[in-house]
């Protein structure tokens, strides 16, 4: 407890002071309440949206569940597709040469610029949202899987060959574990992309989901609700990323990369 206090105490204090200053400034007219809703207003908004919902009956919990569901569907589909494809492309250099321009091309198209086309193809229902999220996640993921496989240290492959390990065994016993750290890094980045795309993906054809909530709140001049939507997206993004990081530590305990970054 004491450790905790000395470590987080100062930054917590800064945070509290900022909040207090903000509250003071809005309630005393230094800041426009519509532009900068006071912390107390945000808290009240939260109580409202947690119990009654906004719009009517759609509580923050419903929005969150919907959004997490959409992100996970798109994300898991993208990762599930990118891993085998990436392995295939990374393992065969001719395939890699053939697909490299396509991958750079696909990655360069901002996901949300596809929105009009995707609506034409898939309508304005759930599928459109999941496809957009999946599209964004896919390119980030596949680029990393390919790089992970392609840049396996050749000396490790050489060492394995001296023990007569080749073919599928070489893949399972050397290339896959050697590529894992990079694949996990890709999985974390791809998740980030999923969260970046969500607000745009939920702009059309729905009032459900955190992205939709943010846009809807704007129509009603409820900027405190926009802020709540942002905060919740940030929090669940943080939670899911932490879970992934945990999984990573468990699955690749030999990797030092994480410790170096976190130090």
């Amino acid at each position: 407890m004491k450790d905790w206090l000395s470590r987080y105490g100062p930054s917590l204090l800064v945070f509290v002071v900022l909040l207090a200053a903000w509250e003071f400034a809005t309630t005393n007219g230094y800041l426009k309440p519509y532009r900068f809703p006071a912390p107390s207003k945000i808290a009240m908004g939260f109580v409202e949206i947690a119990s009654e919902g906004f719009p009517e009956d759609l509580t923050i919990w419903v929005h969150t569940r919907t959004t997490v569901g959409r992100i996970l569907q798109g994300y898991i589909a993208a990762v599930g597709l990118a891993i085998p494809l990436g392995f295939l492309i990374g393992a065969f250099s001719t395939l890699e040469k053939l697909t490299a321009p396509l991958i750079i091309f696909g990655r360069s198209i901002a996901t949300l610029s596809l929105l009009p086309l995707v609506i034409v193809w898939f309508g304005t229902g759930e599928l459109t949202k999941v496809v957009l999220i999946g599209y964004g996640c896919f390119w980030t993921m596949i680029s990393n899987v390919i790089a992970g496989v392609k840049y396996v240290d050749p000396v490790l492959i050489r060492a394995a060959r001296t023990f007569g390990v080749s073919g599928p065994a070489l893949f399972w016993r050397v290339i896959l574990p050697a590529a894992l750290p990079r694949i996990f890094a890709g999985a974390r980045m791809a998740l980030g992309v999923g969260f970046m795309v969500i607000v745009g993906a939920e702009m059309i054809g729905t009032v459900e989901g955190l992205g939709a909530l943010i846009m809807e709140a704007r129509n009603f001049y409820r900027s405190e609700i926009t802020i709540i939507g942002m905060l919740v997206i940030g929090i669940i993004g943080f939670l899911i990323a932490s879970g992934l990081l945990h999984l990573e530590k468990m699955l690749i305990p030999w990797d030092t990369g994480l410790d170096e970054v976190r130090r």
Binding site: A159, F163, P177, A178, P253, T256
Partner: protein
């Protein structure tokens, strides 16, 4: 197989990387070598003269442009014909513990898991690392990593140990320690060793024979039999005389 042929025979090895049309420089030219069983041979030469390439050819990891390598009369067509390799960088698998790495090297299909574990434990013991069996490579010092790499190569139970500047990246004290260790292992397990180094002292401490490669293209330039009694002493006048002779050969 003729009766006077060595255990390892290199017959007119020529090596040039890439396609003939690329006309890259010749790396190795007309290498003929005959190495006896249990012989400890060092290959010394300047950086870039083709030592690693030569070792890789004997290991079966790289195919010579022309020429053949035979081991006990059988032509080398790939790895796994009794060649254990220790690389310049330890080349340990970072996702396996020291024990896991040694077990990776143990390819015997006819023994049980527990027997296998026992064989590997003995090997770690042999290189003085039984206490570090569960450590990952990144948790080991450079010297310990190279010890694990040696144990891993030995797990294959190879007749031949091919070592490419294995101690080149270590500090001098660790290096001397590992040279002693290697000699002990060589004594205990009777292997034929081809050891690449650019240190004349190291070659003299270890070898029955020192082969000098000349650069561009790599050719066998000198072949010294080292008859100094073992253990070799660095400050011994005969040792120094030999050092001088090889140094002059290298500078020629």
């Amino acid at each position: 197989m003729s009766t006077d042929a060595g255990f390892i025979e290199l017959n007119d090895i020529n090596m040039r990387f890439g396609l003939p049309a690329e006309a890259l420089p010749v790396v190795l030219q007309g290498i003929d070598l005959s190495i006896a069983q249990n012989e400890f041979v060092s290959i010394v030469g300047r950086s870039g003269c083709g030592k690693t390439t030569l070792l890789n050819i004997v290991a079966g990891l790289v195919e010579a442009t022309t020429g053949t390598v035979t081991i006990a009369g059988n032509q080398v067509r790939g790895p796994g014909q009794g060649q254990g390799v220790v690389f310049q960088q330890h080349a340990l698998f970072p996702w396996l513990t020291a024990m896991g790495n040694v077990e990776f090297g143990c390819r015997k299909a006819d023994i049980s898991k527990s027997e296998k574990r026992e064989v590997c434990r003995q090997l770690l013991d042999l290189v003085g690392l039984s206490h570090a069996a569960d450590k990952y490579p990144r948790e080991l010092s450079g010297g310990m990593q190279q010890r694990v790499a040696i144990a891993r190569a030995l797990a294959l139970d190879p007749e031949i140990l091919l070592m490419d500047e294995p101690f080149g990246a270590l500090d001098e004290l660790t290096r001397i320690e590992l040279q002693q260790e290697l000699l002990r292992v060589w004594d205990a397990r009777k292997k034929t060793v081809i050891f690449v180094t650019h240190s004349i002292t190291e070659a003299l401490i270890l070898s029955d024979r020192v082969i000098l490669l000349s650069p561009h293209p790599g050719r066998v330039f000198k072949d010294y039999q080292i008859t100094l009694p073992r253990p070799r002493i660095r400050t011994d006048p005969a040792f120094n005389a030999m050092y001088q002779e090889i140094w002059e050969g290298l500078s020629a």
